[in-house]
């Protein structure tokens, strides 16, 4: 009994001490703030320049009543403005040439080029690397090679060339 009494008394004393000690728990702190900073995002845009689109037939402007024949070469040029604003911004321009709607076997895309300062080949056909903004000109050429075989069925045919697509896309510098 004495042990029980003594133990109980000791436990009570410990609880009292703990309660008293808990009320004095504390910590110190000190807070500072950094300076604030406002950033503005850059831009990456491709914009056609007005009145630069040209269709040509054998080097001369394509007239509305023009007739293409075996041996004809149809060219297209158009200039676009590439705006690149941003530190370390790099991009590529890809050309998706428009398809030929009729006589696709004989009237075909001969070349698709992107011309301009700051343009360099990417190593992938149809894709160019752009490091600086500025004007770029897309040049497409569709040829109808003249051959040795007679193809009178191709006379009087209406041939459509669809619009081509230019995609300016950000890439890793």
């Amino acid at each position: 009994v004495n042990r029980i009494v003594a133990g109980t008394a000791a436990l009570a004393a410990a609880v009292v001490l703990c309660a008293a000690g808990g009320s004095s728990t504390a910590y110190w702190q000190d807070a500072e703030t950094t300076t604030s900073f406002t950033m503005t995002t850059g831009s990456l845009t491709l914009t056609p320049i007005a009145d630069t689109a040209r269709w040509m037939l054998d080097g001369a402007p394509l007239e509305s009543d023009a007739r293409v024949v075996p041996g004809s070469s149809v060219g297209y040029t158009q200039t676009f403005e590439v705006q690149m604003t941003g530190d370390g911004l790099a991009a590529t321009v890809g050309i998706g040439p428009g398809a030929v709607s009729a006589m696709a076997d004989t009237f075909q895309l001969a070349s698709a080029e992107l011309i301009g300062a700051g343009i360099e080949a990417s190593g992938t056909p149809g894709l160019w690397r752009v490091r600086d903004g500025g004007e770029v000109t897309v040049a497409l050429q569709y040829d109808w090679p003249a051959g040795a075989a007679v193809d009178d069925d191709s006379q009087g045919v209406s041939i459509g060339i669809d619009a081509s697509t230019l995609l300016l896309a950000q890439v890793t510098p």
């Binding site: 831009s43 990456l44 845009t45 491709l46 914009t47 056609p48 689109a53 269709w55 394509l62 023009a66 007739r67 293409v68 024949v69 075996p70 041996g71 149809v74 297209y76 158009q78 676009f80 991009a91 428009g98 006589m103 897309v138 497409l140 003249a146 009178d152 191709s154 006379q155 009087g156 045919v157 209406s158 041939i159 459509g160 060339i161 669809d162 619009a163 081509s164 697509t165 230019l166 995609l167 300016l168 896309a169 950000q170 890439v171």
Partner: protein
């Protein structure tokens, strides 16, 4: 008492693991917002019309000349017009000529600018049947006359009189260069 002794405060490793998880969670959240910019534009399309190659041959002088030994005749047998959209290289081919005519007559053909048929022969009488004779290039909207000259030999035999079957074809061909 034993139960109280068994509890442990969170150790340093637990704190570090928790902090690492918080960092990983933060990175995972930021990955969802990774992006890049692009801008797309299109050129204009176009519809083209294929041209035609069309040669129109119209008879001009359809006389049947009366020939006799030593006589000659010149006929503008056709007007040839390029009504297509491309240059055409003209050529002429004689069909098979009657044997008697071949033996007794000299036949030549040529291209002329007018129906008066001025100009030297392009196709000499020695041209064999089926042999292509070049008549030069005819541009779109251009016209030319095909002329035929026949000379009956002075020593042509009397058996050739009233010969009704001296008939042969002359074919004109236009081919894109």
């Amino acid at each position: 008492v034993t139960g109280v002794r068994g509890r442990r405060r969170p150790g340093l490793w637990a704190v570090l693991v928790t902090a690492a998880l918080v960092v990983v969670a933060g990175i995972a959240t930021s990955q969802a917002s990774m992006a890049y910019w692009n801008s797309q534009e299109s050129t204009s399309g176009v519809t083209l019309q294929a041209g035609t190659a069309d040669l129109v041959v119209t008879g001009v002088d359809e006389r049947e000349p009366e020939l006799y030994p030593g006589a000659s005749a010149t006929l503008a047998i056709a007007e040839v017009a390029n009504t297509g959209d491309v240059d055409l290289d003209l050529s002429l081919t004689f069909g098979t000529r009657p044997t008697a005519l071949e033996a007794a007559a000299t036949i030549s053909a040529w291209r002329a600018g007018t129906s008066s048929c001025d100009g030297p022969p392009d196709a000499p009488s020695s041209a064999a049947a089926g042999q292509r004779i070049d008549l030069g290039r005819l541009e779109p909207t251009g016209t030319a006359y095909l002329c035929l000259g026949v000379v009956l030999a002075p020593d042509a035999g009397a058996e050739l009189q009233d010969e009704p079957d001296w008939f042969f074809d002359v074919t004109v061909d236009g081919r894109q260069p």
